[in-house]
Amino acid sequence: MRSHIAFRTEPVELEADYVVVGSGAGGATAAVTLARAGASVALVEAGAWRDPAHYPASAYGAMRDLLEDWGSQVTRGRALWPIVQARTMGGTTVVNSAIAVRTPGDIFRQWERERGVGGDAMADAIGRHQDAIERELSVEEVPRGSLGRSNLLALAGDAAADYQGHVMKRYVASCAGTGQCLQGCRKGRKQSTNVTYVPELLRLGGDVLSCAPVHRVAFESRRARGVVGRFVHPETRAKGGRFEVRARRAVVVAASVTHSPALLERSGLKSPALGSLFRAHPGTGVFGCYDEPVDMNVGVTQGWATTKFRESPGLKLETLAIPPELVASRIAGGGTALMERLARYRHVAMWCHAVRAESCGTVHNGLGDRPVVRYQLDDADMRRFRDGMRLVAELHFAAGARSVIPGIHGMPFELGPDQVHLLREAPLDPRRYVAILSHLFGGCPMGKDPRESVCDGDGRVHGVEGLVVADASVIPTNLGVNPQHTIMALARHFATRLVQ
């Protein structure tokens, strides 16, 4: 009988045509695509399976139940910037804002030019897959009534400053604007893969293992034969029984940008490109302070964006709402000075940028199966970072903000409209900024040349049989837009090619 197997203390052995590691944007999409084609599929996920009724409501609960290591993983470099990813059935699609942006056409040309993959054929296929995914996952514009004041202010600022922005399209059916996307959508409106593709996989007869971190991929000569690991209890973190899932046809690795390369490295895969070309969209928020209450947590978490600056200077700007408990540590200072600042919470709107950073880092396997990411921005990227903060600040002023709080160490806490120019000269030292990395790329980059890439343009790992990578780690360049749509379409494309 096909089933869901959660934490077990006794050993589990299974066999399927395909074993998929990871149930996030890439893994769940690949798994359901294979199952729809009639193959037997076993999906193995490190995290627990939580349904919307199980989701936490607070940031504390989200860090405990949904994020990997409480969101405490940081880059090793000059600055310790957090790398945020989920560890739960559905992967990061559970905690993200579900913003759906199609892959820009220039990306396929760039991949063709620089990596010998991509080009028009891939662009056409990805476009068709994105059409289908949009239908399946109810991609729609945020309803006007769910936008909330922060997003409406951004729209007003955009109209005044000509940022050519738009109301976001998201994988959400009738968003109710509860502002809880980052804690998981308790209303069940967000179409994360744990409520869409994974249940569909079960209905199609697939096996789903949760609480089951894969320790390594097993090889026989040059062929991937399956995966092995031990269950981990989601609350106590105690180790459970051993599991072994054999793959008759192929293993599909989709454990994320940090975990896929680490898993392949500890499995003994030899590739000079493994762990290379780690890239990200580092981002930060700038608070705008308004005379009237904004109540940014009322309304959708993210509702407005612009891609006007994607090519130059290389940025995406968006609105974002975070709850008081996260604003508390994001605002500088401590003691009564901090409390006086926090007293204005209802009057601030947080808008942010994501930098299309060209700097590259590496990912390697560390102690206890934890990936180690070495990454830091060069000066050119830091200039983009700083420019983005200025553009966000100017948008706030165009929307009527009285002042902005950029949060750059060593600069005035608050800037008025006549002080925005100070941001042009802000320091380039990354340690002075509070940033996070949420859009990640690379680690198992695709390309034609096995010396520079881990897998080919169909996600097949060079030099071994029956091993495919199907997540964000294959993306060899920075996209400059939110990546989930590209990841899902690539995974669907790779899975389709695999069963053909």
Partner: protein
């Protein structure tokens, strides 16, 4: 250890006229829960941050006493200065305490009420076991992606 972390939290988020302080929340219960539920490394980081907070008044106020022995006024000054100290690693160490304490403070019903937000519901850690019904027990989901909506696989999809 708990007392050390507690005193740093109280200094970082004191009560003011406008807002409840962290001492007005369930801080003690929170810290016990956080120690139990968080990972060992994270808890260690928070304890290390609280230790840094305790031993650094000399560099922020010039007074060679641990933070918890300072007067209220000086401790408040220390809290502000150490949380924005020019030395990155000091700032980051205290940041961990500030983050953990912020989760307690900002998530508490009294603080949420001060910001016109409803209290959070109880949130025990729950997940789907092997024996649970294999259907999403979603809130008031208007649609769950059913196979009926999903076209078959293929490059021509």
């Amino acid at each position: 250890m708990l007392a050390l972390v507690r005193s740093a939290c109280v200094a970082l988020y004191p009560r003011t006229d406008a807002l409840p302080g962290i001492e007005d929340t369930d801080l003690d219960a929170f810290l016990v829960r956080f120690r139990r539920e968080s990972s060992f490394l994270l808890w260690l980081g928070v304890v290390a941050g609280a230790f840094v907070f305790a031993i650094t008044p000399l560099i922020t106020t010039g007074i060679p006493l641990p933070a918890f022995l300072l007067s209220k006024r000086l401790r408040d000054r220390h809290a502000n200065r150490i949380a924005s100290h020019p030395i990155y690693l000091l700032r980051q160490a205290v940041m961990l305490v500030k983050l953990a304490a912020g989760l307690c403070w900002g998530g508490h019903p009294k603080v949420r009420a001060a910001f016109a937000l409803p209290p959070y519901p109880d949130e025990p850690s729950r997940w789907r076991t092997s024996f649970d019904e294999p259907s999403p027990s979603s809130g008031d989901a208007t649609r769950d992606a059913s196979p009926a909506k999903t076209p078959p696989v293929g490059d021509t999809a």
